[in-house]
């Protein structure tokens, strides 16, 4: 069983490095302020409501839209695959590539393929993968996951990148000029773009009505990855389906304005089918999404369009950096999505928030993020085995201490329980118990009464003296 990610501890490490911490905070706040561009659109609030309603309509009719998408895509000459989980997704992608004996794959950024850990899967099987998004490539070269969903390397300084590129590409370690560094990346990536026989992209949206995959980038790297080779694989989470081209317009108007403040990304591209002689595959991935759809309090997080506005506005994210979350998705949206993948590992993430609700206020699809954060805290409180055992131990302690005659019987019960409880539960039970084992000397005093006299004083009590 994996240990919970300790976001707070990771954040302390990040905060200790004041250069990176202050820089990230400044950059993200600037991005947050650029969202003022959104205010140029008088119907902004109406668009948010529409986007939320379209997503809720689609998700509540998702099975029909999936079947419609499959039929249209198939009619367009696209081969549609279904993946229940990350492993199946990776295996499908590998099989497609292996069949054509492909050993180099060019890729545009896709959070889904990060979620599935596709890159190491393919690399272990002898397929080299080149990320073509600048930030994603920087992270790949530095052997780090993305620290932000739209700016994967945003936590790095120009100096960090100059040093990294000099090590990997032999470029000038002292030239920190942004244009120079982007040029180094372009020169070194272009040969792979021209030589690769397969390209892979994610999708921001897929349109059921037309079978189209829609990808938004600023670099044009998805267009290059999909168009240059003769094989295009597109990975899509099933929640990315929208009904029509007409509804796509609503999301395109919201996406870039929420992400960077621009009216649109440089390239908003639509792939409907392969060109003559080429082939196109789409992999529809569940990986826990259909289960989340059934969570009454949490299914709304499936509306997310991955703009990152909630991260840029979040004081905890800005001060702790994306890597501190130890998860594919980070920031406010991450801490409500990750527990659906692995509840224990991500059990502490919902506490990485001040519940200030600015995430909810900027969300272009009106996800009730801060309420879901609160909801997840309640779930962790209710479900977390450590917490349950602690509470039970307290209850037993209370009872036993107030009725010393039961003490011997309780000892028998406890030893039975110890045999069936997992190690961590035993450990914690003993802890909870051990803390108060000297208490019987207090005689008839109840545990609560004892606790009232021994617990630390509240601020209010301290003030009152």
């Amino acid at each position: 069983m994996s240990r919970p990610v300790d976001q707070a501890k990771n954040a302390e490490t990040f905060l200790a490095d004041t250069v990176h911490e202050q820089r990230l905070d400044t950059l993200l706040w600037a991005a947050r302020m650029r969202r003022a561009a959104a205010r140029q659109v008088p119907e902004w609030e109406e668009l948010r409501t529409l986007a939320s309603e379209i997503k809720e309509h689609t998700l509540s009719n998702l099975s029909d839209y999936m079947i419609q998408f499959e039929a249209r895509a198939t009619a367009n000459g696209v081969i549609v695959h279904w993946a229940r989980d990350a492993h199946e997704h990776n295996q499908i992608a590998y099989d497609i590539l292996a069949e054509q004996e492909i050993n180099l794959l060019i890729k545009s950024k896709s959070m889904l393929t990060e979620e599935c850990e596709l890159r190491p899967f393919l690399e272990r099987r002898g397929i080299r993968v080149t990320e073509t998004d600048l930030g994603e490539r920087i992270q790949q070269l530095d052997n780090q996951p993305p620290a932000h969903i739209t700016g994967p390397a945003i936590h790095k300084t120009n100096q960090d990148v100059a040093v990294l590129f000099s090590q990997k590409y032999g470029s000038d370690p002292n030239n920190e000029d942004t244009a120079y560094l982007a040029g180094v990346m372009r020169e070194n990536t272009r040969p792979d773009i021209l030589n690769a026989r397969a390209g892979m992209t994610g999708a921001n949206f897929v349109v059921a009505e037309t079978g189209a995959m829609v990808v938004a980038t600023n670099e044009g790297n998805a267009d290059l990855s999909a168009n240059t080779p003769q094989l295009h694989i597109c990975s899509v989470g099933i929640e990315k389906i929208i009904p029509t081209t007409e509804s796509l317009a609503v999301f395109i108007r919201l996406l870039a304005r929420s992400a960077t403040g621009d009216a649109i990304t440089q390239y908003t591209s639509m792939f409907r089918g392969p060109r003559k002689g080429a082939s196109m595959h789409v992999i529809l991935v569940d990986n826990g999404r259909s289960a989340r759809l059934g969570m009454k309090r949490f299914w709304h997080s499936l509306k997310c369009i991955r703009c990152a506005a909630c991260m840029n506005t979040c004081p905890v994210y800005r001060r702790s950096g994306g890597l501190s979350y130890g998860s594919t998705y980070m920031g406010p949206i991450g801490i409500i999505m990750m527990p659906t993948f692995e509840i224990r590992k991500y059990s502490e993430l919902p506490f990485a928030s001040t519940l200030n609700d600015s995430c909810t206020n900027v969300c272009p699809v009106k996800i009730d993020i801060h309420e879901q954060i609160y909801g997840w805290r309640e779930v962790m409180e209710e479900n977390d085995q450590i917490q349950v055992v602690k509470k039970e131990a307290m209850r037993v302690a209370d009872k036993v201490l107030s009725h010393p005659a039961l003490y011997q019987i309780a000892t028998t019960t406890l030893s039975t329980a110890l045999e069936v409880l997992p190690h961590f539960a035993i450990y914690n039970r003993l802890n909870a118990w051990g803390k108060h084992r000297d208490v019987p000397e207090a005689g008839a005093e109840t545990f609560h009464a004892w606790y009232r006299t021994h617990r630390p004083k509240t601020n209010e009590e301290v003030r009152r003296g």
Partner: protein, 212 residues
């Protein structure tokens, strides 16, 4: 579809059916012609389009360009390979001359006509119909797009009514040259695609001179 795939498909669909919330209605989507793009007067749309694309580092040439070849030679003096995807101009090569789509990387300047511009965003529409070889718009150093000013629509809702989005295998709303803000959140050009995007507001030759 093999048996594993059929099983996966059914498992996912069954799980979605079992879990999806009660059906909620699809809203009606208005066209929002209530903002500053509401007017369909060409002059206003041209101004709005030019302003929008300039914000994304695209360049608009509004003055008449009677001779395209001299214009391109003056603007890109070092260009050796000019790929023309428009019938009225020969360039040095045509998209059909490329044996492989990766050969588009040898192009210095690519010239193509867009069927639609979008005032709200400054985007131009391109598809496999206009490009013939899609990579010419990405692997070339510089891109020059001709656009009839009469074909500028007010906003993104209007744009997505274009039939290309339902018919073409590939289509793109292109807005400015390739850029990246991934290092230091400073946007630089180019990233992986073209270094510059120039839009010439010019009707096709058979339409005649534009007025106003």
């Amino acid at each position: 579809m093999n048996s594993t795939q059929a099983l996966s498909r059914n498992t996912i669909l069954d799980s979605v059916r079992a879990n999806q919330p009660a059906a909620q209605p699809m809203p009606t989507i208005p066209h929002f012609h209530t903002n500053h793009f509401q007017t369909n007067q060409p002059a206003d749309l041209v101004a709005a389009f030019s302003e929008s694309i300039a914000r994304m580092a695209g360049v608009v040439v509004t003055e008449d360009v009677p001779d395209l070849d001299s214009f391109l030679r003056a603007r890109f003096p070092d260009a050796k390979v000019i790929c023309s995807a428009i019938p009225e101009y020969a360039g040095t090569i045509k998209p059909a001359n490329l044996n492989h789509w990766s050969e588009a990387s040898t192009i210095d300047v690519c010239v193509v006509r867009s069927p639609m511009g979008v005032a709200e965003t400054g985007s131009v529409l391109l598809s496999d119909t206009e490009l013939q070889v899609n990579t010419i718009a990405f692997l070339a150093h510089d891109l020059v797009v001709l656009l009839d000013p009469k074909q500028i629509v007010p906003n993104v809702h209007d744009a997505y009514e274009h039939p290309h989005f339902k018919l073409r295998s590939y289509s793109v709303l292109m807005t400015g040259p390739s850029g990246s803000g991934d290092i230091g959140a400073i946007v630089v050009h180019p990233a992986q695609g073209v270094k510059s995007l120039t839009v010439l507001l010019k009707p096709p030759p058979n339409v005649g001179k534009r007025t106003g």
